[in-house]
């Protein structure tokens, strides 16, 4: 066969042409490695910059400044009758007392800084007295939160060298803060209100507790709807659906659905759940259903991949000793596919947790000052809270915004780590 072909000369592997080809190959290899490393460095530095600015602006959001005041629980100011307090309904009487008046009275003792206490400072007085009714008529020293401006002054957030009209804080406030400092009446501590409270018009009272609980309720609804529906759809598609045009069409639709902009799901939620089904606006229930629709395709796709990855030999083994199709699915295929399904689900949920667009349309943008009481009560969610605060003109919300982003990031990182952990822990090799 090769008789017509000219005789091949033996390859000279040491020739200069060969050598330069080898050198070129090494060069290409080196350059490619450098390029890859450079890309990674650029990406990592963007991320580091983002994290740095958020942490720099946000860490002080977890702290708040308190002022020391002396309070006398005078029954007359409180508007309570000491006899009634020692009576059977004592607690109820104390709970209804006029602490605001008492607070104003106590604030007078602060002299030039009398206007620096937070509007909600009286809550501290009430808690104190309710905890110990014997304090009635006595004088105590208390630490209560100050207004946001004083808080920011204490944290050094204002440039005091700037001219008065551009630094965002008045001379009177600066003077009040200086006086408090000199008197040793200021301290900065952990801001438990930030984690526990709901939103507020006052930055020093605003917290992410309400939004966090709203997120929790919403994700609860999302999970209990999207997980079973997604997994069952995937099982049906993989195990029962007749292969053919219909299956291809469904597959195409699901893949497209996973790529649909999330705001479209918000429109659907608005049109269907609010306007037709009449479910309560702004509620975690509607938000959860809407997000469930959004992440279901993600779960279906992840579950199908995981189910496909279960080797057919396991199916054959089970079928071969007379397991029914449903036993094969629930006793063999699903347990083996579960880590993959869980990973996909957690990633889907993490996406739902960070979502705002669809929730805007179903009214979860609401300003909610109460921690949500249930699945149908008005609520907002963490990313929405970030959005609302970032929109607020008050200076005190800047650090709150970054602090809320930090909380959101920590939760997201925790969820993704869990997904990775599950994948590594239960990953099997056959």
């Amino acid at each position: 066969m090769s008789s017509v072909l000219p005789e091949r000369r033996p390859t000279d592997w040491a020739s200069p042409a060969m050598q330069s080809r080898i050198a070129a190959r090494y060069r290409a290899e080196r350059n490619f490695r450098r390029l890859g490393a450079a890309a990674l460095v650029i990406a990592a530095s963007f991320l580091a910059f983002l994290l740095f600015t958020i942490v720099r602006d946000g860490w002080s959001g977890f702290l708040r400044t308190e002022a020391k005041v002396e309070v006398t629980f005078t029954p007359a100011t409180l508007g309570v009758d000491p006899a009634a307090v020692s009576g059977p309904d004592g607690k109820a009487v104390l709970a209804r007392a006029d602490y605001l008046a008492l607070m104003n009275e106590a604030a007078k003792g602060l002299g030039p800084a009398s206007g620096t206490l937070s509007d909600a400072a009286w809550l501290g007085l009430r808690d104190q007295l309710l905890a110990d009714p014997a304090l009635l008529g006595k004088r105590v020293t208390l630490w209560v939160p100050v207004r946001s401006t004083i808080d920011l002054l204490a944290k050094g957030k204002f440039d005091l060298a700037a001219p008065a009209d551009s630094r965002g804080v008045s001379d009177r406030e600066v003077a009040a803060w200086r006086w408090l400092e000199q008197q040793g009446r200021l301290r900065t501590g952990f801001n438990s209100a930030f984690l526990g409270n709901a939103d507020s018009t006052e930055p020093e009272l605003a917290g992410i507790g309400g939004a966090a609980l709203g997120s929790l309720f919403t994700l609860f609804i999302t999970i209990i709807i999207a997980f079973p529906l997604g997994v069952l759809s995937a099982v049906w598609l993989e195990e029962y659906a007749p292969k053919g045009r219909l299956a291809d069409l469904i597959e195409l639709s699901i893949n497209n659905l996973a790529a649909v902009p999330s705001i479209i799901f918000g429109l659907l939620g608005l049109a269907f759940f609010l306007n037709i089904a009449g479910l309560p606006r702004s509620s975690p229930l509607v938000g959860g259903i809407t997000l469930a629709l959004m992440i279901m395709p993600v779960i279906v796709i992840a579950a199908r991949v995981a189910i496909k990855a279960v080797p057919p030999s396991i199916r054959d083994a089970a079928l071969g000793i007379g397991a029914s199709p449903i036993q094969v699915v629930f006793q063999h295929v699903l347990p083996l596919a579960l880590p993959g399904i869980m990973t996909g689900t957690i990633i889907g949920i993490a996406r739902a947790l960070g979502e705002t667009a669809p929730l805007l349309l179903i009214g979860m943008r609401a300003f909610v000052t109460d921690v949500p009481q249930g699945l149908t009560a008005p609520a907002t969610v963490l990313p929405m809270q970030v959005f609302l605060w970032s929109d607020d003109v008050q200076r005190g919300f800047v650090e709150k915004t970054s602090a809320a982003i930090l909380v959101l990031l920590v939760i997201l990182i925790a969820m993704n780590s869990l997904a990775i952990h599950l994948r590594n822990r239960f990953e099997r090799r056959w």
Partner: protein
């Protein structure tokens, strides 16, 4: 070669196939095969690769039902009952006609669970003690008991290939089948493990009807009493193993067993 190659037996056949055709979509993989399988013999299916041995074997417990586009025509009976009749329960059929696959495929569960799974889903054991008995006797019959009796809780996938294959045999016999189908059960094993399985098949003979697909002529000669030679989807010759190997009637059989092709 016009006569029906199915061989009549003196005894009642356990399984009979008559004029079986199998199609994968348009493609015909089995052409008009008729054969009887008895309980007292081990039957070997031999033939070149792609001739349809696995396809035909999988018809006998309807594993082809799970293959998309596979279609089976003709009549296959187990104890004179049509296994493709609508009244036949596939799950029970597969319990009665067990299968051991080419590649050992234990469940990724404990050794005990691997064997106990079948009896459990078919409700064969009432109490834990019953199940323990079933598991022990199945492992004993599969010649595995002494090797694993102290580590029944370990994963079935953590054993050697030969042990895994014997575990799969134990799993199949734990549901007390009447027929055991084996599709090249030793092709993934070394000669020592192969010898163990062959011994085992010999011990199981008579108790179960055994059908074994093999590419190994010596193995067919060693373990089987009946041999069926398939070629291009047809059953060319079916006879006593000794007759097939010493005195094949068809030239195609002779060419194959003497290694002329395949």
């Amino acid at each position: 070669m016009n006569q029906n190659p199915a061989i009549g037996h003196n005894s009642v056949p356990k399984m009979t196939a008559r004029n079986v055709n199998v199609f994968y979509g348009q493609k015909q993989a089995i052409k008009d095969v008729s054969i009887d399988v008895t309980s007292e013999h081990v039957t070997a299916f031999i033939g070149p690769s792609g001739c349809g041995k696995s396809t035909f074997l999988r018809c006998l417990n309807r594993m082809n039902d799970t293959v998309d586009g596979a279609r089976v025509e003709g009549r296959i009976e187990l104890d004179a009952q049509d296994i493709y009749a609508p009244a036949m329960d596939v799950v029970q059929l597969r319990a009665r006609v067990g299968m051991v696959f080419q590649k050992p495929n234990p469940f990724p569960k404990s050794i005990y669970e691997n064997v106990a799974y079948g009896p459990r889903i078919h409700g064969l054991a009432r109490a834990k003690a019953d199940m323990d008995n079933i598991v022990e006797s199945a492992l004993r019959r599969a010649g595995l008991w002494d090797e694993v009796k102290d580590r029944l809780g370990e994963s079935g996938t953590a054993m050697s290939g030969g042990q895994q294959q014997r575990l799969c045999i134990a799993r199949a016999i734990a549901v007390d089948p009447e027929v055991i189908l084996m599709d090249e059960p030793c092709s993934a094993l070394d000669p020592i493990a192969t010898a163990r399985i062959e011994e085992l098949i010999d011990e199981l003979r008579g108790r179960y009807a055994i059908v074994i697909v093999t590419h190994n002529m010596q193995q067919a000669a060693r373990v089987s009493q009946k041999t069926a030679f398939f070629h291009l989807g047809t059953l060319v010759e079916y006879d006593d193993t000794s007759a097939i190997f010493t005195n094949p009637k068809a030239t195609r059989t002779k060419d194959y067993i003497t290694g002329r092709y395949g």
